[in-house]
Symmetry: D4
Subunit: 145 residues, 8 copies
């Protein structure tokens, strides 16, 4: 498995689905879990300790501590997707982007799980020639739309 998708609440699953759709399109393997950093930190610990994924995508709204907590427990790249639940998503955006020096989260745009998937793919493509080619093709196809 290449990508671990984690979201903080069941209500975020429609945003997660946008990432899954893009990962499917590129044939990248993934697993998805609903797992709150605040309500079930132990489960999150277990998921992060046992996953074989190379990249983590964490989707969360409001206080959105999930990506930061993930990043504090793994040295793998963690991509954060802020979800618009209140305040147009500004709370989630700042909660995940303004990480203290030492523990980075790679934040993408509000509700933009598709870009999280593409960022994960660009990371995986650094060591996967087939995936690199697919990404080049994807960009070319995009120009024609």
């Amino acid at each position: 498995m290449d990508v671990m998708l984690i979201c903080g609440s069941k209500s975020d699953l429609d945003i997660v689905a946008r990432a899954e759709e893009t990962l499917n399109e590129f044939g990248v393997s993934y697993a998805s879990e609903v797992c709150s950093a605040h309500r079930n930190p132990e489960q999150l610990d277990t998921v992060l300790r046992t996953t074989k994924a190379k990249v983590i995508i964490a989707v969360a709204g409001l206080s959105a501590a999930l990506p930061g907590v993930c990043a504090s427990k793994t040295i793998k790249p963690v991509i954060g997707v802020p979800v618009n639940v209140q305040l147009s998503g500004l709370d989630a955006l700042l909660s995940m982007m303004q990480m203290p020096p030492g523990i980075p989260v790679a934040t993408v745009g509000i509700d933009n799980a598709k870009n999280a998937a593409l960022l994960a793919i660009s990371i995986l493509a650094l060591n996967d020639k087939a995936l690199e080619r697919k990404l080049h093709d994807y960009r070319k196809a995009m120009k024609k739309k």
Copy 2:
């Protein structure tokens, strides 16, 4: 010990000192720890598991996950003090106040650790007649300033 003071970074210690000053003034016992939710989650777990304090005060800037992580690991009241490091403190404020339903953080004003101490005292005073009297006296003295 009645109050556990935790801050996310050494640079927050001057804000913590404002709470300590007020707790000293009221004769409330406390301990203070620098302990980052992001950089050292295991140490934070230990502190929260072993402390006998009744109330936690967590001071943090930027992503400010500290109070929320504390609140997710204890059922004691957790008071959060957002610190102005960037964006006038708006990032820390939203990170700690916008907790998901289920895990509350009692947020006070930006850099306002004095109010965090007074809030902790008002909670402890519910079962401490002497402290309740001191709080009444404090309010009276405040009127004369």
Copy 3:
């Protein structure tokens, strides 16, 4: 009675109901009043002077002076719930959180009266073993959702 719920306007009652639901779930006694700090300050004075509640929860939108006025007239812990009426609730949030040094309000998230109730319960549980146990059970049940 353990908790006094006050809101500034009848239109806030659906937010208040979320706190009531959680207090009912825990078997905590409470009373609720609609009472504007701006339109009827005398009534508010009476409510605060006569209540036997240990914790006050104040729910208000817009200028949201209610929690601060409560806090200025009692030494009991006051929890503020900012309501989203305009500006995504940012006006209410800042009005209640940015209290001057000396008079704290424990602010929770926008419209998040459930967390206000849980914060009140965590305060009451400091001296109520049965309630403490219920809160532990609640957290455990939450992990399974």
Copy 4:
């Protein structure tokens, strides 16, 4: 006495002085009080009950409940001056401007106590021909600067 100037904290007195300077320039009588709505509500009640002023100017920062509390206790026009203490004054601005329907506060710009004085003068000038003439002269002089 025509204008009552009230500020929430001694640290606001330099802002108050800007209003006093303009009132002096126009020969309008006034009195000034430091009186916190949160820390000393009883004193504020007394000031508002006993003043003979026709217009109230209330200067406050942070939660800035002062103008609203004044407006809830008098039917005289209340002018609010938001003070920049934190968040560029946005907290004070919203706290005093977003009053609920029924109790208005006439808010002027951040730290702009001079405009509060001029607004008070324009109100008093409605029934004071000499003051009206002075205001016309003031405007003319302003054009030459």
Copy 5:
């Protein structure tokens, strides 16, 4: 006529109506005009030069220059009502509140034309005993709601 109501666009008329309703309730005479500071400055000049009103209420959204332009052309008190057209009304709010020293606008809450009317009434009541009594009665009735 006591109050001149001016709005910048026909689309603001429903907000203006809230002020008219309150002025009617108090028996205060008024006239209403749609008159854009930007699209028809000459008409605005004429309205302001010829009106006998004692107080101006200016309602506008977006850049919301209307109240400021009114205030620059009359020494009568000008009350501004920011209308939420975009950005939750924050653009209109800042455009009318942040007037330069010398020319004040008395700004009330977003879309809150009712408060503009009540502020105008409180100004007129300074020299109208009957209106003063009505305002006292209005406040009393408000307490019973």
Copy 6:
């Protein structure tokens, strides 16, 4: 004369100077006036009626009605420069950019009078081959910095 520079207050003259420096560099003729839309609307009318300039640059802070008032009184292109006086310049920015449909203001970045000058030059260059060449040279030189 090609460009008319107007600012709302003497304190804006250092920002105006940045535009003058660039206009001098390109040999574009200009005149500069301090002229407040709020404090001296009549002078502004005269300036706008008599100027032979093809493009207007209006520099203002706070409520920043100046560019909009200019635009309402001329059909020439009006460029607005928001000045950071308070709120990081956000008040001025929104006041001049959010003009109602019908009367546009071409807004450039906060305090960025240099870009206002370059925008004016790009407009004048549409009918001035020598100026067009200078602008091409300027861009080339910029690449080497």
Copy 7:
């Protein structure tokens, strides 16, 4: 052709249509292209290199790099229209207005493509007497609405 209209995405075409309607009303010739600065930079290069238009109008939401990229590749005046896709359009607004010194974008209000068209017309009218007359007539007609 006088005006080149470019938008970053097909979903912006309804905003573009508002500019086209106004350009049609004035009989100004234009061409429109959907062309993303981010997804198809090569196509954008071609459009900008080959167009004979005197003025560019670029319409974009979110990161809204389009007008800035256009401005970096042409010395013609570039007008930017920020589109409200998320965050009330504040992201697009700041992305296009806060250009670095050297490369200006003339930004108009959020979603306000009509004003972009009118700004383009005011620029073209500097050297087109018939268009200048139409613009005068348009302004006069506007006063009667």
Copy 8:
């Protein structure tokens, strides 16, 4: 060479230096270029076409189009560092984070180039066991601070 560091202006070089320091600490090879997306797009094209780096770090303030333009011209992971030049860095933050679906930028905190370097290292460590070990050691050392 593993990492390409690009900044939009010489004034950003002190921020870039924070990333260089961390890359040096880990022994990761890099090259640095000052290269504006707006002022010199051709140079940027050349840099991106010829670099052998696996990860791009783009540092920029204000409109901050640089990371997005990089991302549109390479399929390698692009990390953006928003620089606080104006508006507390909010303009740069939104300009680089709110990329349209299809072209992601991995945004880190304001001025936080150290985290950009650590994110780049975590990506490179996916295929570099020695680097992975260093990152584990770095995290351990961080816990002791």
